[in-house]
């Protein structure tokens, strides 16, 4: 086997490796960009949330403040908030108890549904 043939083979295998790397990083990127939850599935899973977040002017007691409006909120923020409640990094007994039962998929689905329920732009 002469030197040129070896070099060709090397180039070919390198190309294959690079192509594979490119493809995997591309699909990785697509996966994270499309990781948004399923809002339809979220509609069912969000039913419990509406006990508080579906009541206009509903108030949290001790300390007293309004339960936040979350319909129309950014999904990414809602996901972060639910995960922080689940890990108990963010404190609120009721939210921690509810988030504790959720899988990552549940959190993404619920967040997608709430994010899609905002007011239409005027």
């Amino acid at each position: 086997m002469n030197l040129i043939a070896v070099r060709r083979r090397l180039v070919r295998s390198l190309t294959v490796v690079l192509l594979c790397l490119g493809a995997s990083s591309l699909s990785g990127g697509m996966a994270s960009a499309f990781a948004a939850g399923d809002a339809d599935a979220g509609a069912v899973k969000a039913y419990t949330c509406l006990g508080c977040h579906g009541v206009e002017h509903y108030v949290n007691s001790y300390p007293t403040f309004h339960v936040p409006r979350i319909a129309g909120q950014n999904a990414e923020y809602l996901i972060a908030a639910l995960k922080a409640y689940r890990s108990k990094e963010r404190s609120h007994q009721t939210m921690q108890s509810n988030a504790n039962l959720l899988t990552d998929q549940d959190i993404e689905d619920i967040s997608a549904w709430f994010a899609a329920q905002g007011k239409a732009a005027p």
């Binding site: 509406l50 579906g54 309004h66 936040p68 409006r69 979350i70 909120q73 990414e76 923020y77």
Partner: protein, 143 residues
């Protein structure tokens, strides 16, 4: 008055004081208050905290909000999806969030840095400003 009773009760019972305080105020148990007074107290306990928080000056809040707008948008509608939309959020919730960041009970490296510099009045004004802005937030509709 309700605040005053809470102040008395809180050190003795710690975190659960609010719950107990509220209960006793409503029942009029605390000092054997007559029923009418107990009723008045119940109303004070229920209404006063919210009324007290809704006193922010939105115009002053707009002036103070310059720093916030870098992440939360000029009108409280954040451009980056990881930052929450503040426009149209409940004033009392925004104030609660800022106070929690300030006292460290809610942890966020970015928000802690800003919130520690805020006075109660700043928090009230900022909350009033962002709450008064139009945006997509609303109470979730029932499916």
């Amino acid at each position: 008055m309700s605040r005053f009773i809470m102040t008395l009760v809180q050190p003795a019972f710690g975190r659960s004081a609010n719950r107990f305080g509220g209960y006793f105020c409503r029942r009029g148990v605390l000092s054997g208050t007559p029923t009418v007074l107990a009723g008045a107290l119940a109303i004070a306990v229920t209404v006063f905290p919210i009324a007290a928080e809704a006193s922010g000056d939105a115009a002053a809040g707009k002036e103070k909000a310059a720093t916030c707008t870098a992440c939360h948008g000029a009108d409280g509608i954040s451009t980056a999806p990881n930052f929450p939309i503040l426009a149209g959020q409940y004033e009392s919730y925004l104030a609660q969030a800022l106070k929690s960041y300030r006292d460290g009970s809610r942890q966020n490296a970015i928000m802690a840095g800003f919130a520690t510099a805020l006075s109660d009045e700043d928090i009230a004004d900022l909350s009033a400003w962002f709450a008064s802005q139009p945006g997509p937030l609303q109470t979730a509709p029932r499916p």
